[in-house]
Each structure stands twice: as C-alpha cells, then as structure tokens.
C-alpha cells in the first residue's frame, strides 16, 4: 500500500492492511503535526509533493525494505495539503515474523523517506511561514 492522499489518513485501514496470520509483529510510525517547533507556535502545516516522483520513490523504498528485511506487508501513506495540529502527516506500517525486524524496517523507511521522497512541508506560524529545511 503506497498512497499520497489529500484526505485525513485512515490509520486503522493502514494497520489492517499489514496484519497477516504469518506476521508476529507490527510496527507503526505516525508522524503528526506538532503545535510548536523551536519554541514557535505552529498554526497549521502545508505539504506538497511532486506526486509521480514521490510515488516512484516510495515504491523504491518498499522494494528495498523487502530486500533487506523479511517483511510480510508494508504500507506507506503520506498526506498532502493543509493539515491541522495533531493530524497525521505520514503513517508507515510494517509487519514481520519477529519484532526486531519490524522496528528496524519501519525506522529505515521513515528515515529514508525523509531523505529522498520529494515532499515539502511548510510551517505556518501566526506571524509568517517557512519551508522546512530549505535554508541552513
């Protein structure tokens, strides 16, 4: 399951997707919108994606995670558009036979997604806005 969505992410559906009879462990990471960053109050976030390339890179991550770990099922869902505080921006779920692999694979997926998938986050404050990570 690889998805970019303009709607709120249906987390239970993502979880259901990865649960199988042969998996003993599921790890799920949810990245949510924080109400502050570096002491500044965040009003909302806006995400945009270069959608065809983002989906291609997400598929590459899924292919690679399957090569590295004995993954049963994997799901990567990223939200785009305007998000309010507390909403999920990204949900990654991995099921594996045993737990160490689930944690490692899930962590690798979110770390690598943040490095290579062309998605951009704009933090909107009460007095301005900034594209995250654009400047030093």
């Amino acid at each position: 399951m690889i998805l970019l969505t303009h709607q709120p992410i249906d987390v239970p559906a993502v979880m259901a997707h990865v649960q199988t009879g042969s998996a003993g462990a599921v790890d799920i990471f949810i990245g949510t919108v924080r109400n502050q960053t570096q002491q500044k109050r965040v009003v909302r976030l806006e995400y945009e994606a270069y959608e065809p390339m983002a989906l291609k890179k997400m598929q590459e991550l899924v292919d690679e995670v399957r090569r590295r770990w004995p993954v049963e099922q994997v799901a990567i869902v990223h939200r785009v558009g305007v998000l309010d505080i507390g909403e999920a921006a990204v949900v990654i779920a991995v099921s594996t036979p045993h737990r160490a692999e689930a944690f490692e694979a899930c962590r690798w997926l979110i770390d690598t997604l943040k490095e290579v998938v062309p998605i951009w986050k704009k933090e909107v404050f009460e007095d301005g806005e900034v594209w995250v990570a654009a400047h030093a």
């Binding site: 997604l113 062309p118 998605i119 594209w131």
Partner: protein, 82 residues
C-alpha cells in the same frame, strides 16, 4: 539548435520563481549543471538553498546528465516530508 524545456517547481523554488513551472530555451547539449547555473543567474535566491537537485523523468540526475527534448524536469529543493 535551441529547444524549450519546461521545469516543474515545488516548495520554496515555486515561491522564489513565483510560478509552479517555467519554460527555458536551452542548447541541445545542455547538462544539469548548466541548467542550474542558468537558473541561479536568473533567480539569485536559489543560491541560498541548502541544496538544489534536478529530477529528470522522476529520477535524481547527476550534474553531467544531458537534458533531452521531452524530458520531464523538476527542481528539487531540500525535501521535508514525514
């Protein structure tokens, strides 16, 4: 022989250029680095970014990759998904 190249823009590069895409006329033998040089000359604020990559047909391109007619090009400023 020059040909037109359309470049998709996202995030801060869209804000700097003030449009979601731009079309340049480039020489046949232009590579990725030359394209970046041309864009930085035209939009100096691009030089302030932590990094600026070019995607060709949804794949990160090396600096010496030649740009062909019909390639789908995008500027990729520092990503911040998740």
């Amino acid at each position: 022989m020059a040909h037109p190249l359309t470049i998709a823009l996202f995030g801060i590069t869209r804000d700097i250029v003030g449009a979601s895409s731009l079309t340049l006329s480039i020489e046949k033998s232009t590579d990725v680095d030359s394209l970046l040089d041309q864009l930085r000359a035209q939009y100096p604020r691009l030089t302030e970014l932590n990094s600026l990559l070019v995607a060709v047909n949804s794949e990160y391109a090396e600096g010496n990759q030649l740009l062909k007619k019909g390639d789908e090009i995008a500027l990729i400023p520092p990503v911040s998904g998740g």
